[in-house]
Amino acid sequence: MLPWTEKYRPKRLSEIVNQKQALIKIENWIKQWSHGMPKKKALLLAGPPGSGKTSTVYALANEYKFEVIELNASDERTFEKIRRYLDAAYTLDVFGRRRKLIFLDEVDNMEPSGAYEIAKLIGKARNPIIMSANKYWKVPMDIRNKVEIVEYKRLTQRDIESALWRIVKAEGLFAPKEIIKEIAKRANGDLRAAINDLQSAVVSIEDAKQILVYRDSERSIFQALGMIFGSDNVKRAKMALMNVDNTPDEVLLWIEENIPYMYSTPEEIAKAYDAISRADIYLGRATTTGNYGLWKYAIDMMTGGVAVAGTKKRGFLKFYPPKTLRMLKDTKEERGIRDSIIRKIMKQMHMSKLEAIETMQIFKSIFENNLDAAAHIAVFLDLGDKELEFLAGKEKAPTIKGKMLAIHRKLRKEGIEIKAEVEEVPKIEEEEMVEEELKEKEKGEEEIEEAEEEVKEKEKAKEEKVEEKEKKPKQATLFDFIKK
């Protein structure tokens, strides 16, 4: 079965999705080849993966009757091949055969020495040469000087969705809307990846979600880990990060996670950890000094340093994604609630953060054991429902809440305002301004009037909220409040 990426590869330039600007440039350039030679004999198509660079080359060749010679720039023998083809192309041309178009893929992965030779060949070339790269700034300067750069933009989710729907229709399939949407979203602008995902997704919808878990970026980081933990050779280990898009600090987390699984003795683990500790220090210094040249030493340590820390496991290596990233995500809400309680304790009880953390732990014990005392503390700190639940647990929180309302009622009867509820507003009329400038003064008063109004509104809103809650203590949600 033909992969759909080949089956549905555009035959004509007009079928290329949403790259009009680039196509105009390219057509102008290829037309110049019909009457001689353009100023720049090579084009560099630069853009993210799956944005249509390769498809453009084949559609172009199809429309303008060229034969495509595709070569991989990272292959060591490429230089020799190009020279042969360039020579041959010229002779064959005389016999009236189709002219050859040289297509050089991945020139951003090329060794600098090869780049110099290829740049020289471009000068001598009599055939159109098209190169492609994901990141044109990574293309060696020698080459960049000889080419015209054509930029491809990242495709939008909508571009990809409509392309997928065309294929679904052509195949006569049924596909749920959400799946198409999800595939398009996860593809992150990569139409080739999206089409591959679509083809595997329609095999079985159940598998679809599984297949979608790891998309490109993660796939390449697994490969990098394989190179680092599978090699004793420092140079090879250093190459590992070449195809990885993640920033060094992210990559460091991936390496860190896998050290104890890849190495077994305490010596090896300590050695590998020492290497990433050093790497992290270089990253820290790079950030504080703004000297990102230090990144290369960080990369030496996290790749080569980790690679030489011990003996390698043989056979299939299984890697894990960093648990910490998931933990951070999973605990986000809880941490938010906790930090908000800590801030309230710091403010209301004049404490530093460490003291407030300790106090919060002790309060937890009170909230679980003595609901009356808990209610008083909760009113004093002006705790919200979630904060109350965090300290007391789901079961006891409603009871404490009821007791809190009773305290609030009594306080209101006595006409006492709780400090925590009303932010302090300076009484401006008693104060003389230090700065005499009139403008400044007017501005200041306006701000404070606004602030006063805001506080009044808040108070009003709070009273309403409390009344509502008193009627049905358990269910008063923000939603009820808005409806009102």
Binding site: I269, L354, I362, H376, V379
Partner: protein, 331 residues
């Protein structure tokens, strides 16, 4: 004025029971325990209505914040809240935020008869040297109508130019008898039965920190009006989780993966910073069941990684690397 301050609080107390740390926080300078030498000098400021910048140094829970609050009350009377700003150096996201808040606060003249306002900056030793230099300039800029009270654990972490601009107050660690006196007073007010064992347990866990003693007393009282040593230890163990010790022992026993999980839980779930963890590790390392030379070797490693933690970008990586050293030395 002192009498008025005391009376104002009474009405509110009847309905809303504040946490005891606040409820029994002294309202006037004379009620502060164990710091007589300091109280005398501060009362002089209150009487004369003038004061220089002050630097309060001393361990936690001995009365630094309370002294600042009492001084403000006695200097400013009913307007004290408007003339007093409390900031926390470790919480204000950098010196620029502090500077903005100082500027905003200093923009208006003090209310009442006072000729200046007070800014209380807690944890001033959390500021970097550069930030302290900036703070010094800020102090100078607003010196005609703002006085600073800087609070810190170690005065040696405060740069020389700031120290020389401040009157220094060294707070003593509280003696057990001072802490005991206060605890007995509170127990009486709250109609608790404070057993002798309970009191000794409270003194033991407090380590001279009166705030911690009162917090633990309230939590023990939430269990039972009889304060026993058992209840005190139950509550206190929650306040100072054994997690850090457990983590170190796991690492020493060669269980690196479990130690690593524990560390991540401490950092992410309990909200301690990397530096907090390393300080606790250093405190606890000498209580570990290992040979004496190993304790020294580990303390040296902790120091090395404390340094790396400051230099590095990701504190979790540095702490895990330190745990790997524990596993290596524990072998």
């Amino acid at each position: 004025m002192v009498e008025a301050i005391k009376e104002a609080e009474i009405k509110e107390v009847k309905i809303l029971e504040k946490p005891w740390v606040e409820k029994y926080r002294p309202k006037v300078l004379d009620d502060i325990v164990g710091q007589d030498h300091i109280v005398r000098r501060l009362k002089h400021y209150a009487r004369t209505g003038t004061m220089p910048h002050l630097l309060f140094a001393g361990p936690p829970g001995v009365g630094k914040t309370t002294a600042a609050l009492c001084l403000a009350r006695e200097l400013f009377g009913e307007h004290w809240g408007h003339n007093f700003l409390e900031l926390n150096a470790s919480d204000e996201r950098g010196i620029n935020v502090i500077r903005e808040k100082v500027k905003e606060f200093a923009r208006t003249k003090p209310i009442g008869a006072a000729s200046f306002k007070i800014i209380f900056l807690d944890e001033a030793d959390a500021l970097t040297q550069d930030a302290q230099q900036a703070l010094r300039r800020t102090m100078e800029m607003f010196s005609n109508n703002v006085r600073f009270i800087l609070s810190c654990n170690y005065s040696s972490k405060i740069i020389e130019p700031i120290q020389s601009r401040c009157a220094m107050f060294r707070f003593r660690p509280l003696k057990d008898e001072d802490v005991a006196k206060r605890l007995r007073y509170i127990a009486e007010q709250e109609r608790l039965e404070l057993t002798e064992e309970g009191l000794q347990a409270l003194l033991y866990v407090a380590e001279g920190d009166l705030r911690r003693a009162i917090n633990v007393l309230q939590a023990a009282a939430a269990l039972d009006i009889v304060i026993t040593d058992e209840n005190v230890f139950t509550v206190a163990s929650r306040a100072r989780p054994e997690d850090v010790r457990e983590m170190m022992i796991l690492a020493l026993e060669g269980n690196f993966l479990k130690a690593r999980d524990k560390l991540r839980e401490i950092l992410l779930k309990q909200g301690l910073s990397g530096e907090d963890v390393i300080i606790q590790m250093h405190k606890e390392v000498f209580n570990l069941p290992i040979s004496e030379p190993k304790k020294v070797a580990l303390a040296d490693k902790i120091g090395e990684y404390n340094f790396r933690l400051v230099e590095g970008a990701n504190e979790m990586i540095q702490l895990e690397a330190l745990l790997a050293q524990f596993t290596l030395l524990g072998k």
